[in-house]
Amino acid sequence: MVGAILRRVFPHPQLTGFLVIIWLLLVNTITLGNLLLGVVLGVLIPGITQPFWPDRPKVGKPLKAAEYILLVLWDICIANIAVAKIILFKSNANTHSQWIAVPLELRSPEAITMLAGTITMTPGTVTAMLSADASHLLVHCLDTDDPDAVRDEIKHRYERRLKEIFE
């Protein structure tokens, strides 16, 4: 009974906590009033947006998720330098851009979205499209001579970790 009421008020407890933290960061000062307002928002917004979250993805391993975020942040720095080098020192004729199809093992829409975003932010690759049955990602690679290596790195470095986090 109590559980059912709690589930009614907090349909998505992780999202509620997340919204409170985001609200406190937005107002930049922690006072009781702000905290209360944050909690009100944290209850209202998940309630209203509930139909958008049919599956409620569970992040089973928060430590792994933190590790993944740090890894991606580091890769973004590397990506920036790599792309800057290509822009500065490579002529357009020497840049070999290619399309790559990456087969997906991930099945949950949230995990695929994370993977697509990660690919766009990391070295020399942009996600362009998903196949109609969501089993492959179309990736555009700025400069590569070995598309298979790029595909394997995406699968090994990012998809494997996301699979551990989401499934």
Partner: protein
């Protein structure tokens, strides 16, 4: 102490400026819409990142209050940049890219912009 902080802030501002400039230069130099997408999604992230870190250090050292807005800006930027890039890529592909120019999916269905799954099969279980 404040000298060190000033050096750090200036350094981050310069790094940010350089990468911002490089991202914009990439837009000018690269010769194909898909290639052009690479410049603003990557080089600019570090450009904005550098300015934000400089701003955080400035507020922490000289204004003596910790500001978290920069972290939020970073987070929102990291969330929105890939989505923008994806939509630009999709619009470009619908206009100018033929399906025969793309590699095959390797699965039973084509790419989402060119093929669709019939009613019989629901690819992602959204309940």
């Amino acid at each position: 102490m404040s000298l060190i902080a000033e050096i750090v802030i200036s350094f981050m501002l310069i790094v940010g400026g350089i990468f911002g400039l490089l991202g914009s230069w990439g837009l000018v130099k690269l010769n194909d819409t898909m290639r052009r997408l690479h410049a603003p999604t990557k080089a600019t992230t570090l450009g904005v990142g550098g300015v934000l870190i400089a701003s955080m250090v400035y507020f922490a050292v000289f204004m003596e209050r910790v500001s978290f807005h920069e972290l939020l800006i970073t987070a929102f930027l990291l969330i929105t940049a890939p989505i923008t890039a994806n939509f630009v890529a999709k619009a470009h592909m619908h206009r100018d890219v033929k399906e025969r120019d793309l590699p095959p999916t390797g699965g039973d269905y084509g790419w989402a912009g060119y093929d669709e799954v019939g009613d019989g099969k629901q690819p992602i279980d959204t309940k």
